[in-house]
């Protein structure tokens, strides 16, 4: 007689796994029919869930049925081709299956020794990305630098700031502590994660300088230089600058060469955040966006935004891996092993904040192989071309104005009739369920953002979105 067990057997997994795969294939076949932005009200999902946890085991079929009934109405469909909001978080078949393999192997890659393939595939794939994206060779593992996968750019930018903090305070008496005189810099258009990092690292919000930007929303290097000089004079210690390649608000491109030169001259850590737009560098014609990266100490971009690799997958590179490891390494006895002691291997737990880590390079490896470099380039080019077509349409409609340069796949625009009209237009469009876009404020004005980057978005979807925007604008009346 078989032992009593509640586990799912491999044979059951074979069956239920197929059911789940079929559910997913159906979902992707039908996704365009679903309202992109979830229409539920606060509390509506919870109302459908039982108050108490189940005492007895339930059938897998019952769980699967609740996905349609309970979960799906509360989902905003980030994988819908009609999703133009925020920055994308696109996914693809090979990524989902690579991630499935990672879940099933269920390994902990904290040390080389706890699964050598997890560390070595990660190092290898991150080395592949260096020539694929035209990154400086100092980021290769064969140089003094190297790359690591983290969850988000928020986390890796924090690690950059910590390594910079460590470098700036290494002669302090409180090892790995903070110094109230440290000052960090970024533009007033940079992502909120830099402010969060400054707070987490104990630098403090008051000691993060938000440098002003020019007409294109890019950081003014002369303002940066001036602020650094002022802070030095005041007895403070400038230590870290974060520049952005493609800001979240408007996709502005900070001038890396000028900023990098200021960092070099002032001995500051130079970090570059290219969270979404870094993917454009797959195509040689867009690599100009990262000119000046040779001056950077660290670089971060997210394959989980625009490179068909489902969340979470952030790639973080440093030019001097020793600086990072010295900042984050901790070696208790229970983690010691021969491979670590030999110094021949990377132990990635010393490259980020968490100790445990899953086998995330599998999905990236699957994506790069399944698409090939050519396939990735093809789809990124196409997304950019679609956004540029949308930009042309906006320019031709006199009711609208373009609110910022649109070098890649994000178009910022607004109705000329002011904030209230733009907000109403956005809300009407999003309520329609036919598309989803979000907003920002540029020069204080409510501005619509239209970002093309979902995997399955094609010309048809962008054209439909634009016609829908025009039709909704007709209803609003106002400027002709």
């Amino acid at each position: 007689m078989a032992e009593k067990s509640y586990h799912m057997t491999p044979e059951q997994f074979r069956q239920y796994g197929r059911d789940m795969v079929d559910w997913i294939a159906n979902y992707y076949e039908e996704i365009e029919a679903l309202p992109v932005l979830s229409q539920v009200r606060p509390g509506e999902v919870r109302q459908k869930l039982p108050g108490a946890p189940p005492r007895e085991a339930e059938d897998f079929g019952a769980i699967l049925a609740d996905i349609d009934k309970v979960i799906l109405p509360g989902v905003t469909h980030w994988q819908s081709p009609n999703f133009f909001a925020y920055f994308p978080a696109n996914a693809s078949g090979p990524a989902i299956l690579g991630d499935l393999l990672s879940s099933a192997l269920g390994i902990q890659g904290m040390l080389w020794a706890t699964s050598p393939a997890c560390t070595e595939l990660e190092t290898h794939v991150l080395d592949w990305l260096v020539p694929m994206l035209g990154l400086p060779e100092k980021f290769l593992s064969s140089s003094l630098g190297g790359g690591v996968i983290q969850d988000t750019a928020s986390s890796s930018s924090l690690c950059a700031m910590l390594a910079a903090r460590e470098r700036a305070t290494k002669h302090s008496s409180n090892r790995r502590g903070c110094d109230g005189r440290l000052v960090a810099y970024t533009s007033n258009q940079a992502h909120s994660s830099i402010e969060k990092a400054a707070m987490v690292a104990g630098i403090g919000a008051e000691n993060l300088r938000l440098i002003e930007v020019d007409d294109s929303f890019a950081m003014r290097p002369e303002s940066l230089a001036k602020q650094i000089a002022q802070d030095r004079e005041a007895g403070l210690v400038p230590f870290f600058v974060s520049a952005t390649v493609g800001t979240t608000s408007s996709n502005a491109l900070d001038p890396l060469p000028a900023i990098g030169t200021i960092c070099r001259d002032n001995d500051l850590w130079f970090h570059v955040d290219a969270a979404m737009s870094g993917t454009a560098a797959l195509c040689p014609e867009f690599r100009y966006i990262q000119n000046g990266l040779d001056l950077a100490d660290s670089y971060t971009f997210n394959p989980h935004k625009w490179m068909f690799t489902n969340f979470d997958c952030n790639c973080f590179y440093v030019a001097d891996r020793k600086a990072l490891i010295d900042t984050l390494s901790i070696l208790p006895e229970y983690l010691r092993n021969q491979a670590t002691d030999s110094g021949e291997v990377f132990d990635y737990r010393d490259w980020h904040i968490p100790l445990g880590r899953r086998f995330r390079s599998l999905k990236l490896w699957f994506v790069i192989r399944y698409y090939g470099v050519e396939g990735l380039q093809f789809h990124v080019r196409r997304h950019i071309a679609m956004a540029q077509q949308f930009l042309e349409w906006v320019k031709q409609d006199k009711r609208f104005e373009v609110a910022a340069p649109a070098p890649l796949n994000l178009v910022c625009f607004r109705h000329r009739d002011g904030d209230k009209n733009n907000e109403e237009l956005m809300n009407c469009l999003n309520r329609s369920g036919e598309l989803y876009l979000t907003h920002t404020r540029l020069n204080g004005r409510f501005t619509l953002r239209f970002c093309v980057g979902q995997t399955n978005t094609t010309e048809r979807h962008v054209e439909h979105a634009w016609k829908r925007i025009q039709r909704e604008t007709d209803k609003l009346g106002g400027s002709k």
Copy 2:
């Protein structure tokens, strides 16, 4: 004619998904035949990978074939029933399929508005766990507290320390910055993540006090009280204590009531880390391990260790969610929305360091429903019973000594003939491929750790492991 595309179609996904599911089912059927600890040498995995990334798209079949050829030899099989190393990171069919759904939906749960189901299911399932584990009601979302899923206990302990830091410095002029006088406390047996957190948060390694322990490796409350008083006298500012329910080294249980009382009397933030052992509280007879939790400000445990939910899934609870949110919230314009402005919803991005977040509650929901509370209790009890049986066997073999109390599923023991013999014994066992166990140092002595917690481990595997240990010990000679 179809448009040119490199994407995997839903129809292809249906086919390749089945191939991957079958591969996984086969893997679990054959896993016992594989050496638990990978036998590769540094660089061996990378040697099998092409130096340059593929220019052209590859077939999915070619990728799948490389899993067996390139990846598997480099995998240490954390899901093998013969894995007794570290703490487990167990997985199960329902968890893997819930995680697959999360990958496929590919949503970003940073805000309630970006997918209400992601936030609401998470809140709901974390509320379920409160009665399931007998946690204090103050951790319910209907009280002033609440729970959130993070990646690891390292990250959530860091967040606890940050919230404590914020509470201790809120009247400082540098908002959300550090103060060099702050002092944190934990035992000298606590997990390295507390030291890492102190460093990240800018407290500094020098300002983390490692309090001495008693014979059972549990923190001495009187030493804690004395150290706090000394630090106060020296003009420093004690602010945070982390106690452990089940240390990584030996599964020691810190005395929460005494430590919590000291924290209350001194107005310190009291954090409790029950990373693995917290799962035992599913069974009422083991809930005594968390007596005193009613005094805690925050609590963390990992379903991804022992609760059949694949990595990553850490549950973090706070008694005062406002304290956490005030510490970590940042609200740029591009993330504003009606639901957030209404104050009616949780936006989980303010509960941790990353901004982006995947739909991790799905796998936890799948696990709780598929097993039911009864099923989870059944398997946890069984793991503990197996470890207790192993403990008896060790006690009966005069060549060995038990090195620490074994209240749950971890047994620390050593051969009486000293460090060298124990290290040799461990290395021989691990090289055999038949089981995998790791070590720690207790009272300065090399000690073997045997932890029972992998999903499919049964009495047969534990018995085989013990016999293998005895046989290998016979070969070593020495004490009879």
